[in-house]
């Protein structure tokens, strides 16, 4: 992972000092709320239903054990002992006091963590997939590029007051684990015919009121041109994105209105003026960043060591291993997912105690590194296979070894009306009820990969549009109702879900999900045809019939 140098540390300190001054000016009344709001948002400070919320960036989802311990400290010292991992590889604390925020931020800055640009109309946390740097199918580590871009967009003087937020994602494999196509700008690394590495550039993805899948505007952008090209896109967006209507202010609207081809041409024209200027990346600059990325000293190990073989004779371990452990690019190692979706509990939360224990386990078994995925689970990215039995025991003891990763109970849910002032309906209790219905791992295993996404309002922070089953909370006459969609996906075959019918009340959502699961089992051609594949084959009607037959 990236190690801060004196420049990175100085910037954070200066930022914390600035915010300390701004908070003081707010508390004294020198700044009005209107003047302060954008400033606090640019530091990740929201005002929610019952308290301030602090959103901290975990750049491209990579955390050191030291950082995780510090998050535990912040949770204990300033909050109520837990944090929530989000769909953008951030962590949120829900009960922070404004006056204490500068101190909390100073504690975070000490380990290189911050909330800069996790909100506001600026470029947000650059995300990638949680297996970056260790996945067998990557052509390179996208995190180096994510870090280069991150630095470039941090406190960018021209792009700190955009029409609206701007989210960037980077990937380096054909299989998209980072939901690239629902981002404002996405970069997919690949090689061209001549064996050179570059990026496919996609723009204009995004969910919310008007969801769009991103469009490719450049098939192959050489690595050297990454920063100048992004600059051109942002400059066009800054100048021509709509400022009159916040629901039409994202770049996806601009791209849609102009047409992707025309938008691409305009970017190209602006880019031509700057591509050979100071933003052209020479190898020295890239190498310089890359030297501060620390990689593990892998030991030479073989796959399927005897310790592992022996442990697989234990039923519980075997179930967990089959579900939560995946191949690593380095022989003898594995990628371990920690489910933060225990049955019946709030999704994506992690207590301070769990954080400390996970940090310890990471120190012992994962070269002190942890990852955060947009599915709101954690990952130990580099565990020796021979250590898996011990790792399982340790994870099981702190309840992060539920073998439901990618299953129907591995639900992605936004905080919803229980926390968020934008929400119309609750999301977390709906997730809890669904997960209880599918608590039996044999049942959820039989259903296979099935992504359920729940959003408590149209802002779609739960990414419901791209869920295999998507659930959107709405308000009707003071009651909570939920619209259900099926068939969405967030990967390289990204698609928006299809509505199955009229919204159903709060108490019926879990029933509907059970109906959908049953319908799938009846309709599938063979056991390994996934829910999403069955939907593609038969369409929405058979599912709709099943759900609404008795409603």
């Amino acid at each position: 992972m990236y190690l801060y140098d004196e420049f990175d540390r100085t910037l954070l300190t200066e930022r914390v000092d600035e915010f300390r001054g701004q908070v003081a000016r707010r508390l004294s009344g020198e700044l009005t709320e209107d003047e302060f709001k954008s400033l606090r948002l640019m530091n990740g400070v929201y005002l929610q239903l019952h308290a301030y919320m602090l959103r901290i960036a975990i750049p491209y989802g990579t955390l050191s054990s030291q950082q995780l311990r510090q998050l535990a400290l912040v949770a204990r010292r300033y909050d109520r002992g837990y944090g929530h991992f989000t769909t953008r590889q951030n962590i949120q604390f829900n009960w922070i006091k404004l006056a204490q925020l500068p101190d909390a931020m100073a504690d975070l800055a000490a380990v290189g963590l911050h909330g800069m640009q996790t909100s506001g109309n600026c470029v947000r946390n650059i995300t990638t997939d949680q297996w970056a740097g260790v996945a067998p199918d990557e052509i390179d580590d996208p995190r180096v590029w994510a870090e280069l871009i991150r630095q470039h967009v941090t406190l960018h003087p021209e792009f700190s007051f955009l029409p609206r937020k701007f989210k960037i994602a980077v990937g380096a494999s054909d299989h998209d684990r980072a939901a690239l196509r629902i981002h404002d700008l996405a970069l997919r690394m690949h090689t061209n015919g001549a064996g050179e590495r570059g990026f496919e550039v996609m723009v204009g993805g995004g969910l919310g009121r008007t969801p769009f899948i991103a469009k490719t505007i450049k098939e192959f952008l050489p690595q050297r041109d990454v920063l100048s090209y992004i600059e051109a896109v942002l400059r066009l967006y800054n100048q021509y994105g709509r400022r009159d209507n916040i629901y039409k202010a994202r770049i996806k609207i601009l791209v849609h209105d102009k047409g992707a081809e025309q938008f691409g041409k305009e970017v190209e024209a602006e880019w031509q003026s700057i591509k050979d200027g100071r933003l052209a990346l020479d190898q020295a600059v890239v190498d310089e960043i890359a030297t501060r990325f620390q990689y593990p000293e892998y030991v030479q190990l073989s796959n399927d060591p005897p310790e592992l073989k022996k442990a697989l004779s234990d039923g519980r371990f075997a179930v967990w291993h089959a579900n939560s452990v995946r191949p690593h690019k380095q022989p003898g190692y594995a990628i371990v997912t920690l489910s933060l979706k225990p049955v019946g509990k709030p999704t994506g939360d992690c207590t301070a105690d769990q954080m400390d224990k996970i940090a310890e386990i990471a120190d012992r078994f994962s070269f002190s590194e942890i990852r955060v995925g947009h599915e709101q689970n954690l990952v130990l990215p580099q565990v020796a296979q021979r250590d898996l039995p011990e790792v399982f025991k340790a994870l099981d003891a702190i309840e992060v070894a539920t073998p439901n990763v990618n299953h129907i109970s591995d639900i992605i849910a936004c905080p919803g009306l229980d926390y968020c002032s934008l929400a119309n309906a609750r999301a977390i209790p709906v997730a809890q009820e669904i997960s209880k219905r599918f608590a039996d791992f044999k049942i959820s295993e039989n259903l296979g990969r099935l992504h359920v996404n729940i959003s408590g309002c149209i802002n779609a922070c739960g990414h419901h549009h791209v869920g295999h089953i998507g659930i959107l909370g709405v308000e009707k006459n003071g009651e909570e109702f939920y619209q259900i969609t099926i068939g969405g996906r967030a990967d390289e075959k990204a698609e928006l879900g299809t509505l199955i019918g009229p919204a159903v009340p709060y108490d019926e959502v879990a029933d509907v999900v059970e109906d959908l699961a049953e319908a799938y089992l009846d309709l599938r051609e063979r056991p390994n045809e996934l829910f999403i594949e069955t939907f593609k084959r038969v369409g929405v009607e058979p599912f709709k019939e099943r759900v609404y037959a008795t409603r």
């Binding site: 406190l155 400059r235 070269f367």
Partner: protein, 176 residues
């Protein structure tokens, strides 16, 4: 609305000409865009300085023919959250090489000073006196800058290369 230039509050020697009002023969004048464009060449023949107020949704390249004669361009932040003028400023300074005074007007608050300076503004129509008085101190708030702009400040990338020279390629593995 105190005017800050060179880090200090100064008197504004430009007179803003309202729509319909006549332009005096003497004295520095600040003219709205439409008015300016209608009479640009004539105006720029004045002995005294001429400035133009340029709205934030108008392309600055329209000013290109006049940049070497304009003494002042005032760009607009209708609200501080509307950041279009940052792009305008950079384009004027970095693409069109404008060297006259570039003034930030509208809702100009303390917390934008550093961004404004970096984008190329050198004069500030500040809303609050307290902010104007704090200008010098606020401008020094940051010493680390990642992005190259026209302001001449050394970027972090450059500083790093100066410190370390060209590093060995990134295949170096470091002990965890």
């Amino acid at each position: 609305m105190p005017l800050v230039r060179g880090g200090r509050i100064v008197a504004d020697n430009f007179t803003r000409i309202e729509d319909g009002a006549p332009i005096p023969n003497e004295g520095a004048v600040l003219v709205p865009a439409a008015r300016f464009l209608a009479d640009a060449n004539e105006l720029l023949q004045r002995q005294a300085p001429v400035g133009v107020i340029w709205p934030n949704d108008k392309n600055v390249s329209e000013l290109a023919p006049y940049l070497d004669k304009l003494a002042l361009i005032a760009l607009v932040f209708p609200v501080y959250k509307d950041g279009r003028a940052y792009s305008q400023a950079r384009l004027l300074r970095e693409r069109h090489n404008y060297r006259g005074e570039l003034r930030a007007t509208g809702q100009v608050l303390r917390d934008q000073f550093v961004f404004l300076l970096r984008a190329g503004f050198d004069a500030f129509d500040v809303v609050k006196e307290a902010d104007a008085l704090a200008f010098e101190e606020t401008a020094k708030r940051y010493s680390v800058f990642f992005q190259p702009t026209g302001d001449g400040r050394m970027t972090v990338a450059r500083s790093r290369l100066k410190l370390h020279g060209h590093p060995t390629p990134a295949t170096t593995r470091v002990n965890a």
